[in-house]
């Protein structure tokens, strides 16, 4: 007799008889699972988040295929479930998406708005449990262990209530995955998307995993998948058969990690206020770029943007990270350890430029990004002051002066020469909107 619940009226149910409908409200959205009230680890994922927010704000879009994304050469950031029926997927180039679904409505993403909605959703998460780890704007892990005493109902019911509140109070839908660790909770949330509630219990975990392809394991990308397939491992069941010892021998630490996850073991905990250890800014180009000067021109404003965020957050970092994506979507990252932690745009640019010079000119890139790693609060970073005046002292004085002018007269009032775009010949000037 498996315990169950009604996802509409939140009544706990027993599978007595063959009830297809909730005896209280008549709903068919019933959920039964032998371990339903024994599990407390959840992954909550907003369904087609950006598209759902847009549909909420413009009801005329409700029944039409919607793609959020754009730019002349941009990609579909999010496709609503109607558009997905035509084969449109996230990260698909826009021209291809529109070929599949020419009648789709395209909306440019409004990240600021999504961030606001995300905060509202987060506030509801926080009411369910203090242990919330946001992964991105639209998904989070929640550990509800011990919340039964507070809410006077088991985690499964709290989650069903949470999903219902998000629908009624915020106006978007979520899919919930309930299990006993991060890896399985994430897989569970994908079981019956959208507006789903997937459960993976301890009894079935191993069997459930056996039938899934290896690429559902975090850390197994295309490259690792190809390598595993070449070795005769396509499904997680194959990993289970090979066993931890052999996997460790073959693939080292990566193999041992695979073995654990294949058995449904994942000891990662929900980390509240998961602190950003790396901050970055990146941009995708209108057209692919290869030449160093053109790439540098894109890099500098990113350094300034990142520096702005670091200064606001009072953080400094020690490692500059340059990120490049080639025209054929290969991701390159190059790191450089700085002599001293910094938050200056100029210092980041100077660190990243030689890294960029080494990569530029040989191939075309579609994206560039700059990040700063090994972050720490600026107040903590203070190495002893320098006897000779540090080499960055002058840079710092200049940049702080620029910041002060901008604060008073606006961001466009002053800047370094390298931030100036070359003047375009008349007639080709970009139209401002």
């Amino acid at each position: 007799m498996a315990p169950g619940l009604c996802r509409d009226c939140l009544s706990p149910l027993d599978r007595a008889g063959e009830a297809e409908r909730c005896p209280r409200c008549g709903s068919t959205r019933l959920l039964f699972h032998p371990e339903l009230f024994a599990l407390a680890f959840a992954h909550v994922d907003c369904d087609a988040f950006y598209a759902s927010v847009e549909k909420r704000d413009d009801p005329t879009l409700a029944d039409r295929p919607l793609i959020v994304g754009g730019g002349r050469r941009g990609v579909a950031t999010t496709a609503c479930y109607i558009a997905r029926r035509y084969g449109v997927r996230s990260a698909m180039p826009m021209f291809k998406a529109l070929k599949l679904c020419p009648q789709a409505v395209v909306i440019r993403p409004d990240i600021a708005k999504y961030a606001r909605v995300s905060r509202d959703v987060r506030a509801l998460f926080d009411e369910a449990t203090p242990l919330v780890e946001p992964v991105s704007l639209d998904e989070a892990y929640l550990d509800l262990a011990g919340t039964e005493a507070v809410h006077r109902r088991p985690p499964a019911l709290t989650l069903a209530g949470l999903a219902r509140r998000i629908e009624t109070e915020i106006g978007i839908t979520v899919s919930i995955g309930l299990s006993f660790n991060k890896f399985l909770a994430k897989l569970a949330s994908e079981i019956d998307k959208p507006r789903g509630f997937g459960v993976i219990g301890r009894q079935e975990a191993r069997g459930f995993l056996a039938g899934r392809p290896v690429r559902v394991i975090p850390g197994v990308g295309a490259k690792q998948e190809a390598r595993l397939t070449a070795d005769g491992i396509a499904m997680i069941g194959d990993l289970q058969r090979v066993g931890a010892d052999e996997l460790g021998r073959r693939y080292g630490a990566f193999g041992r990690r695979l073995a654990h996850l294949a058995e449904g073991e994942d000891s990662r905990e929900v980390e509240r206020d998961h602190e950003a250890k790396i901050l970055s800014a990146e941009t995708t180009f209108e057209t692919d770029l290869a030449a160093l000067p053109a790439l540098e021109e894109e890099l500098w404003p990113l350094c300034e943007k990142l520096a702005g965020r670091l200064k606001q957050a009072g953080l400094v970092g020690r490692t500059a990270v340059l990120k490049l994506k080639t025209a054929d979507f290969r991701l390159l990252t190059r790191r450089h350890q700085l002599d001293r932690p910094t938050q200056l745009a100029e210092a980041m640019f100077r660190a990243a430029r030689p890294l960029l010079a080494r990569e530029a000119g040989r191939r075309r890139f579609r994206l560039i990004g700059i990040g700063l790693d090994d972050l720490m609060p600026a107040v903590e970073a203070g190495p002893p002051a320098d006897l000779f005046g540090g080499p960055d002292d002058r840079l710092e004085a200049v940049e702080r002066a620029i910041d002060r002018v901008r604060e008073k007269f606006g961001p466009a009032s002053i800047g370094k020469g390298r931030g100036l775009k070359p003047v375009r010949p008349r007639g080709q000037a970009k139209k401002s909107r």
Binding site: D339, E380, G382, P384, A385, D386, L387, P391
Partner: protein, 379 residues
């Protein structure tokens, strides 16, 4: 080339030579050691071993029974590993018989035999010659004193490459001519001096690169006699009994360090150096990995060391001290304090301070030849 040599002699020389060879080399021959056997009539034969990284070259020669003179190059680390693993007391035979092609070198000891690939001796890079117009001798203990008490302060910052070494120059201190060694990383500075040796009167100020300093330091340990130092504006040579190290100098201008040695500091603290170092070490257990800060709180006749970390907790320790000025609190990087305390051989250390934000001078109370400047940190 054909020779026989005692394992112990070869191993010792190779140990010195191979440490010059960089582990990763883009130019294959730089991974090799040049071995040259010479035999003069009526004299004992010698085997000389040379290694270089293009900035620094090192030659050491050892006695050997040379049957046939000649030269070749083999991989330094491979040769070193072989010799290291051969049994103690072995006699090692080395030959590369041109008749057998000369493309390989044979190493033989007891029942072990190795054949190593070679690269031609003619391809081995030679450090550019040129005059070394200045020459003077230093006793091993003198050179050790200069190097040991300054090298900890050498900077590793790439952007200030001119701080990546020891600045050596002739100067005048209280009317006495001295030879000075100075190193700094901007946070601390070490200045050591000794009476100017004959021949060094007109030397230019030179910056000895870190790697040369470290290699020289290893060799001093095994030298009892004098070391001849000769130099020009661009190169320096250290000649030991059986070994010669030649290095390029850092091409840069060492900053005017005198200007950062404070003259007006008036608050004087004297502590027992060993007690102080042990206390700093204990208290620093608590300070954060990143800052390693310890706070010195000074009152009449007493010094309190303390450290705080939001994660770990806090620590304090009181030690006796001679201090009569107005109470102050000042913070330092504990690592830097310990580095300096280690160099002070006498019992007492004297801190001369101004305030919590200005550089502090630290000296051995019994020995004025070394002076350390340390920048405080905010605590």
């Amino acid at each position: 080339m054909k020779l026989t040599i005692e394992r112990a002699a070869l191993l010792k020389a190779l140990a010195h030579v191979q440490s010059v060879v960089e582990r990763r080399n883009t130019i294959p021959i730089l991974a090799n050691v040049l071995i040259e056997a010479t035999a003069a009539k009526g004299k004992e034969g010698r085997l000389s071993l040379t290694a270089t990284d293009m900035d620094l070259a090192f030659v050491e020669s050892v006695p050997a029974e040379v049957t046939k003179a000649g030269a070749t190059t083999v991989q330094a680390h491979t040769l070193y590993d072989i010799v290291r693993k051969l049994p103690e007391g072995s006699q090692i035979g080395i030959d590369n018989d041109a008749a057998k092609g000369g493309g390989q070198v044979g190493i033989r000891a007891g029942r072990s035999a190795f054949t190593l690939a070679v690269l031609p001796a003619e391809d081995f890079p030679k450090m550019s010659g040129g005059d070394l117009p200045h020459s003077f001798d230093l006793a091993a203990a003198e050179l050790r004193g200069l190097v040991d008490r300054t090298r900890f302060a050498i900077s590793t910052e790439e952007t200030r490459y001119y701080l990546n070494g020891i600045y050596m120059h002739a100067a005048e201190s209280n009317g006495v001519k001295v030879l000075r060694a100075v190193a700094t990383d901007g946070h601390r500075l070490a200045r050591v001096e000794m009476p100017l040796p004959a021949g060094a009167e007109n030397i230019p100020g030179v910056i000895l690169p870190r790697k040369a300093v470290m290699e020289v330091r290893k060799l001093i340990e095994e030298t009892a006699g004098a070391i001849n130092v000769s130099l020009s504006d661009t190169r320096v040579r250290f000649a030991f009994d059986d070994a010669v190290l030649t290095s390029k100098l850092i091409d840069g201008t060492f900053p005017d360090y005198e200007r950062v040695i404070p003259a007006g500091n008036d608050k004087i603290l004297e502590v027992d150096c060993k007690t102080f170092a042990a206390a700093v070490d204990r208290v620093a257990t608590i300070s954060t990995e990143k800052s390693r800060a310890v706070k010195l709180s000074l009152g009449k006749g007493q010094l309190t060391l303390s450290a705080n970390s939001p994660d770990a907790g806090s620590a304090t320790e009181e030690i006796e001290a001679r201090y009569t000025a107005a109470p102050i609190e000042i913070g330092f990087n504990s690592r830097y304090l310990l580095d300096i305390a280690q160099q002070i051989e006498g019992e007492g250390a004297r801190f001369t301070m101004a305030d919590a934000a200005s550089p502090t001078i630290i000296q051995d109370t019994a020995d004025q030849s070394a002076l350390y400047v340390l920048m405080p940190m905010r605590v």
